[in-house]
């Protein structure tokens, strides 16, 4: 079992003694772990593919495909580059007016793979795991759509290319040399945080990965799936992570721009030719920068998985419905007030109105929260009381004071 092809031998490869090139036979090659994904794929491909006998066959076989298809179809409206010149005919794949809404629609189709996988396994625990996972998905879709709606309202168009172009304008409408990446604006920062949390929950990724955790409900909705079908589920999850980080980059991080600096403005004001070169590089390297931001997103996901502990299911649903949704709706109202303020009084008046609205909304929200919690039992703190009979008392023995013979 240990000498099968697999990832636990991917640090060094020991060439066999019967290698054709006699000079290299028996040598060890260090690969620094770069071939780990390849060997993972080979392992999953060569594992035995077990199909339980009592499953609903047609749905059992189609569920992994249904989980994979939305993950790949999600990236059709990503802006890999600006919309003129050479990149104008290449990006995005589908230049429809409904850019971001397409991504939200296709991501909501991702719930089917999970529900059907749980159902087809003919296993009560898999069914429960599948239903819980899809309930989590549709809960966080709301917060995600609301935070995307804030950005769409601020831009005035759903196309992601227009969102990136809007982010190239001056910061807050005032500072000329800096780009207005939405994560640097107050409402955009809140929307970005909410969107990030919602995306982590949408892709069933830690700390929201209760449905697929190995030690909860066995393995959740993909208990009965082995080797390649399991690999298809995970391929779908990683592809969704990649494309969602791309959407996050396009909406909040300025898309294909390298830094939030307006190179053209710096070139005009200082005359230094370096800024002109960087401006051109910003155009030609646009897809690579976008890809780099997607990779940064995936790094963030993996980092987060290693850092945070898993959320319990009721904590997860409370977070989605009671915290994220009200905050994102309040953010939406603030963006509306900002838009009115900007159109009536210019940028400074707009920001003044927005900050006033934020303060009022925060005060109202805290008030309502404290009022609604007045009569509710405090069930967030679970205390355990030990019931002992009245005659016996429990004394804790201090280990430092006992004498060990």
């Amino acid at each position: 079992m240990q000498d099968r092809i697999g990832p636990n031998r991917s640090g060094t490869i020991t060439l066999p003694d019967s290698f054709p090139l006699k000079g290299l036979a028996g040598k060890k090659i260090r690969t620094f772990g770069f071939i780990q994904p390849l060997l993972d794929g080979v392992k999953l491909f060569t594992k035995e593919d077990i199909t339980p006998s009592a499953v609903d066959r047609k749905i059992y076989f189609i569920a992994p495909a249904l989980a994979l298809f939305p993950a790949f179809a999600l990236g059709a409206t990503l802006p890999w580059g600006p919309n003129f010149g050479l990149y104008g005919i290449l990006t995005p794949v589908a230049d429809v007016e409904i850019g971001v809404l397409y991504a939200l629609a296709i991501s909501s189709l991702g719930a089917y793979g999970i529900v059907l996988a749980g159902y087809a396994s003919n296993n009560k625990y898999s069914l429960m795991g599948g239903l819980r996972a899809s309930a989590q998905l549709i809960s966080y879709e709301l917060a995600m759509a609301m935070s995307v709606a804030c950005i769409v309202m601020a831009v005035g168009s759903m196309k992601l290319t227009n969102v990136v172009v809007e982010q190239e304008k001056p910061l807050w409408g005032l500072l000329e040399g800096v780009q207005n990446w939405f994560i640097l604006t107050p409402f955009g920062f809140i929307a970005a945080v909410i969107f990030l949390i919602a995306v982590i929950a949408e892709t069933n990724r830690a700390p929201f990965d209760l449905p697929e955790a190995e030690n909860e409900l066995i393995a959740g909705y993909h208990t009965e799936y082995s080797s390649m079908k399991f690999a298809v589920f995970f391929m779908g999850e990683y592809a969704a992570m990649f494309i969602f980080s791309g959407i996050f980059a396009a909406l909040f991080l300025g898309g294909y721009n390298i830094l939030p600096v307006n190179w053209n403005h710096l070139y005009q004001s200082t005359g230094n030719n370096l800024f002109h070169i960087i401006d051109n590089a910003n155009y030609w390297l646009a897809p690579i920068v976008f890809l780099g931001k997607c990779f940064g997103g995936i790094t963030f996901f993996v980092w987060l998985r290693a850092t945070l502990p898993r959320l319990r299911y009721d904590q997860l649903m409370d977070l989605g419905w009671k915290s994220l949704l009200p905050i994102s709706v309040a953010n939406f109202i603030v963006v509306g007030i900002w838009i009115i303020g900007t159109s009536l009084y210019g940028p400074i008046g707009g920001w003044g109105a927005a900050i006033a609205a934020m303060v009022i909304t925060l005060v109202l929200y805290l008030n309502i929260l404290s009022v609604s919690k007045k009569g509710a039992p405090a069930n967030d703190k679970r205390t355990v009381t030990m019931v002992t009979s009245p005659k016996r008392t429990v004394t804790l023995v201090d280990p430092a004071k006992t004498e060990t013979p």
């Binding site: 005919i89 290449l90 589908a94 230049d95």
Partner: protein, 126 residues
């Protein structure tokens, strides 16, 4: 070359596919939906056939919105297109609310019964 993939013109659809094709599809879906409501026993499936009928009506509204008649085209075809789409948005919203409440009712009724059969819901029969 890739530009053609960005915008397939809608005028081509108007010239090549007649309105009757869309209406025929809507008709077939509506007939199937009504057939299903009359035939099926399982209440959830009956509900799904109702949704099928609603979608057939949506398709009919939208095809008339996109293919205005000559009389409407002389007046204001854009307004009639927007009216059709607004009606469909209303229908979609109403269908969503109806599904939520209807499935709640179905679950509340059938939680405590041993069979799921719409024909057994006859306590109000006169």
């Amino acid at each position: 070359m890739f530009n053609i993939l960005h915008q397939i013109p809608i005028a081509a659809v108007h010239d090549e596919i007649p309105l009757a094709a869309f209406l025929g599809l809507s008709l077939a879906m509506f007939a199937l939906g009504s057939l299903g409501v009359l035939i099926r026993k399982n209440p959830v499936v009956v509900f799904m056939c109702i949704e099928l009928m609603l979608n057939a009506v949506n398709l009919s509204f939208l095809s008339f919105a996109a293919y205005p008649s000559a009389a409407v085209a002389a007046r204001d075809p854009f307004a009639s297109a927007m009216a059709g789409q607004s009606m469909v948005i209303c229908v979609m919203a109403i269908a969503a609310a109806e599904v939520a409440v209807g499935l709640g009712i179905i679950m509340a009724i059938f939680r405590y019964r041993n069979q799921v059969d719409v024909d057994d819901m006859n306590t109000m029969r006169g």
